[in-house]
């Protein structure tokens, strides 16, 4: 962390988005994470994406559990409400919040401990409910705040800072999400904003639960030789399978792609994700084959990244619950009470 806060300097050349705000308007408090932490880069990517989508700062609700990753919700969009809940339980808070107001964008930020250990159940059930939210895992394979224990995402054979080797198999959030029926599954890397920023944009606009597992190295406890989640290892074992470009509504796709290499997917608000397939044989809309591909690459020790699976046809949380279009927290009381007449009617049943 730093003693001084990031100075607020708005130099005249700073670009503005459609609602006249600069990136700086989407920043939050100063990070208290270690210098060089991947999480800070994810924060910057979120800022870039939210700014790029011209979301009003207050339209974003930021939710998190406990851990290094969960702290980051304080570091962006100070104009939006934040909620740093309890360990592993962010998905339930997000579920309730989303139930109360379907009009906001919900960004949940979690870590590998928060999601894959203590919060594994809630993570799974948020996927089952298809809560309309962007769920970012800042995955570094290690417990930072308690100083370096392996997490549930640590790979077999990955070495701790003092040399101890992890012997338990990892829980892969991407594979898990695919198995559970998630409708937007991506993996990215904190050090690759060109990939991450459009993924975040697409995830925010996706109708339903969007998971992005972001490999986000821990510079203090897991960036050494022998780690499979260090900056160097991730860069060396990086397999981007589908690159997603986010295309806002009413924007023409002008670039030309070879046959079978590009696949436009239209989101419910009219925006599109243009999927550029780096491996032409890969089909990001085929869940079964995605799982197979992933398993194969996992065995080779490769980190498959990009938009691995997307399905725009499924019903989200509110569709399943047939919820009214007006956010529930804005319903007038008069619409909610059966009144005195209603009471008389109800009482009839109990006489």
């Amino acid at each position: 962390m730093s003693f001084i806060t990031k100075p607020k300097i708005t130099h005249p050349g700073l670009p503005k988005n459609d609602i006249g705000l600069t990136r700086r308007d989407y920043e939050g408090g100063m990070s208290t994470l270690c210098a060089g932490c991947g999480h800070d880069s994810v924060t910057a990517a979120v800022i870039e994406a939210v700014w790029g989508l011209s979301i009003r700062p207050e339209q974003l609700a930021k939710l998190s559990g406990i851990g290094c990753s969960s702290k980051t919700t304080a570091y962006f969009d100070s104009g939006g409400h934040g909620f740093n809940g309890v360990h592993g339980r962010m998905p339930s808070i997000a579920t309730g919040a989303a139930a109360a107001n379907r009009d906001l964008y919900y960004v949940g930020i979690s870590g590998d401990g928060d999601t894959l250990s203590i919060g594994f159940g809630q993570f799974a059930h948020a996927i089952r409910r298809n809560v309309n939210m962007l769920y970012l895992i800042e995955n570094n394979g290690v417990y930072g705040l308690t100083k370096g224990q392996f997490s549930a995402s640590a790979d077999i054979g990955s070495k701790a800072k003092r040399g101890e080797e992890n012997k338990q198999p990892p829980v892969d959030p991407v594979m898990t999400a695919l198995m559970l029926g998630a409708t937007f599954v991506a993996r990215s890397f904190s050090g690759d904003k060109e990939q991450l920023v459009p993924l975040i944009k697409a995830g925010l606009r996706h109708n339903g639960f969007a998971l992005i597992d972001v490999l986000s190295p821990c510079v203090t406890f897991n960036d050494h030789e022998g780690s499979t989640k260090s900056y160097e290892f991730v860069r060396d074992h990086y397999d981007e399978v589908v690159h997603a470009d986010f295309v806002p509504p009413a924007t023409e796709i002008t670039a030309q792609y070879a046959e079978g290499h590009a696949l436009p997917v239209t989101l419910h608000d009219g925006s599109r994700i243009l999927l550029r397939k780096l491996d032409p044989s890969y089909d990001p809309t085929d869940r079964t084959r995605a799982i197979g591909y992933l398993r194969e690459k996992l065995q080779q020790g490769e980190h498959v990244t990009g938009l691995i699976y997307v399905d725009q046809s499924s019903s989200d949380f509110h569709a399943v619950n047939n919820t009214t279009a007006t956010p529930l927290n804005q319903m007038a009381y008069e619409k909610l009470t059966p009144g005195r007449k209603g009471m008389e009617k109800i009482m009839g049943r109990y006489r």
Binding site: A74, G79, G85, T95, N329, M347, Y350
Partner: protein, 611 residues
């Protein structure tokens, strides 16, 4: 005592107990019996003693016919309908001398019938069912209706009232209505032909149930949620709270579906566990919806971490704890008041919570609404501590009336315009009005109102802190806020006529206490009475405690939790308190209280004014 000479005493004042096997459809027959008598204008009380089981274990239903309109168990059994071979011996033993036992005589069991101080009436129910109806399942179900017919004849219950009730239940299923009516009549006719009807223990029309309903507390609580404007319910099924959400859902399906769009103006989340349920409630409340979760003790245990978060981050939440027998899984289908301490101080660190103690379904309705108003006014979790007895049994209550002038108290929530016009930055935890309650803002309203909600140390401006002084400012205000709650929560109900000794109780113990007071009075002992309806205890509670020299604390748990809370949270001297405790899992009876008081008074007679 129980001779025919006194038979007249048993008209409209007796206890009928029905022993059944779980899962045989006895509940509808027993309800039919009770409701028929209720419709005849006779006050009734029903208690269901059922197992934690879906099918096969024994279950009992107790109907007290009480012309005095008492709402507690009396502690005696006048008529036993013994339909469960497994519990037969025990059921026979339970009948008070002079009482009656009705059994299925299709299979003779002379060895079991060893009592000569009661009248035993055998009815070949199974045989008659087998002769009349087809299908094993139907026969089992209709056997129950058949004994209802037998009882109608014996007790002189108006058969037309029963037929009408059946017609209401099976209005859309003609064949079922016909078979049920037939079974009812077979039983009725058999009794008329074989027994001297009616028995001296019987019913006679009264007019004491007009403007009353029979309703269970969970349904009433759900109705309260509906009228409070709750839109989000999150829960994990747990006995005995399940029917709260079941009822809420059914009310919503009727009253909360937009007639134009067919869309739901509510959302119920059946969560993966209680942790997620309370999480969703907190998320929804944080976001400005009225949200609640019904649960029971084990659920509260699981929710502890989140409850502490809501307390410290000052997020409204409404929890219904339908208490059951603990510890651990305990006896899930039996009642207790065992969560008082758990709820009062739920979660780690310094936490204290607002508790409401309804005593009956009527109060479940009203306190559900109070709970939402208090939760949002005080920005804190509020517990409605009901129990299985109130929640799952049908109680006779006055018809619920609705005051159209009610407006929900949404508490100190800043509007968009108010945020816009703030002269300074928004500070979430600042005590601007010096009433210990800060202002809050909702997400999505205005960027100037944004703040960061956290369970970690924060200062009054809402910022993260590890500074001792800053931390304490907030903690001290939370204590003052809790003090402030004393003037906002429902006051205790007090019946005082200057006696030195008094009874203090809470929740569902009330009915038994009131009956006990009458009995004690008839024996020359008069006591004052206070029923506490909320925690924190207000000045009215303290004053009552101070002005009595002997206080019987009546509650349904082993460890005298109410008494503990009173000694912790009021200046009461411990030596003035005597506990009367009941923790069998069955609802407390008046006799237990009478016995307890009289035993104590043997030692302390000087303190009691003779009535």
């Amino acid at each position: 005592m129980h001779t025919t000479a006194n038979a007249q005493d048993r008209v409209n004042d007796f206890v009928l107990k029905l022993a059944n096997v779980n899962g045989t459809g006895s509940a509808s027959a027993n309800t039919l019996l009770m409701k028929s008598m209720f419709r005849m204008g006779i006050p009734v009380m029903g208690k269901n003693y059922f197992p934690s089981n879906i099918q096969g274990l024994p279950t009992w239903y107790e109907i007290r016919v009480t012309r005095e309109a008492y709402v507690a168990r009396s502690g005696r059994i006048d008529i036993m309908v013994a339909m469960n071979a497994e519990t037969y011996q025990r059921d026979v033993r339970e009948v008070d001398p002079g009482g009656y036992l009705i059994y299925d005589s299709s299979w003779p069991r002379p060895t079991l019938l060893k009592r000569d101080d009661i009248t035993i009436l055998g009815v070949p129910l199974a045989r008659m069912c087998n002769e009349t109806f087809k299908g094993v399942r139907a026969r089992i179900l209709l056997k129950n209706i058949m004994y209802s017919g037998v009882l109608a004849a014996l007790l002189e219950i108006d058969l037309d009232v029963m037929r009408a009730l059946l017609a209401e239940s099976y209005s859309s299923k003609k064949s079922l209505l016909d078979s049920n009516t037939q079974a009812l009549e077979i039983g009725y006719n058999y009794a008329r032909e074989h027994f001297p009807c009616p028995l001296p223990t019987r019913v006679a029309r009264m007019d004491k149930t007009a403007n009353h309903i029979l309703i269970d507390g969970n349904t009433a609580a759900a109705l309260g949620c509906l009228y409070a404007g709750a839109t989000v319910g999150a829960w994990y099924p747990i006995t005995p709270s399940t029917s709260v959400m079941d009822a809420f859902k059914s009310f919503c399906q009727k009253w909360r579906v937009d007639p134009e769009t067919g869309k739901n103006n509510y959302l119920i989340v059946q969560a993966e566990d209680e942790l997620a349920a309370i999480g969703a409630v907190i998320g929804a409340s944080w976001n400005g919806a009225r949200a609640f979760t019904p649960t029971s003790g084990p659920g509260i245990s699981l929710m502890n971490e989140f409850i502490g978060l809501a307390y410290y981050a000052e997020i409204p939440a409404v929890l219904f704890d339908i208490q059951r027998v603990g510890p651990s899984t305990g006896m899930p289908t039996r009642t207790q008041q065992g969560d008082i301490m758990l709820a009062a101080y739920a979660s780690h660190g310094d936490t204290r919570h607002v508790l409401l103690f309804p005593a009956n379904p009527e109060e479940c309705f009203h306190q559900a609404i109070d709970a939402f108003d208090l939760a949002e006014r005080l920005q804190t979790p509020v517990f409605v501590l009901s129990d299985l007895d109130i929640g799952m049994n049908d109680w006779m209550c006055p018809v619920l009336d609705w005051d159209e002038s009610y407006k929900p108290d949404r508490g100190k929530v800043l509007t968009k315009a108010q945020i816009e016009n703030l002269p300074t930055k928004f500070h979430r935890y600042l005590d601007l009005d010096e009433d210990a309650i800060p202002y809050r803002t909702l997400p999505g309203v205005h960027p100037k109102g944004a703040y960061f909600t956290r369970g970690s140390g924060h200062n009054q401006y809402g910022g993260y802190t590890e500074d001792a002084a800053e931390y304490q400012i907030v903690l001290d205000r939370l204590r003052r806020k809790f003090e402030r709650a004393k003037s906002l929560v429902p006051k205790a109900l007090i019946d005082a006529s200057g006696n030195q000794a008094a009874i203090v109780s809470v929740g569902s113990s009330d009915g038994a206490v009131r009956e006990a007071l009458d009995i004690l009075k008839s024996r020359g002992v008069t006591l004052d009475y206070m029923r506490i309806r909320a925690f924190p205890f207000g000045p009215d509670v303290e004053k009552f405690l101070a002005s009595h020299s002997l206080l019987f604390i009546v509650e349904q748990n082993r460890d005298a939790q109410l008494r503990s809370l009173l000694t912790l949270e009021t200046p009461i001297e411990k030596h003035k308190l005597r506990s009367i405790l009941h923790y069998s899992g069955l609802p407390i009876s008046s006799s237990c209280i009478v016995d307890g008081v009289l035993a104590e008074l043997g030692n302390e007679k000087r303190l009691v004014n003779s009535g």
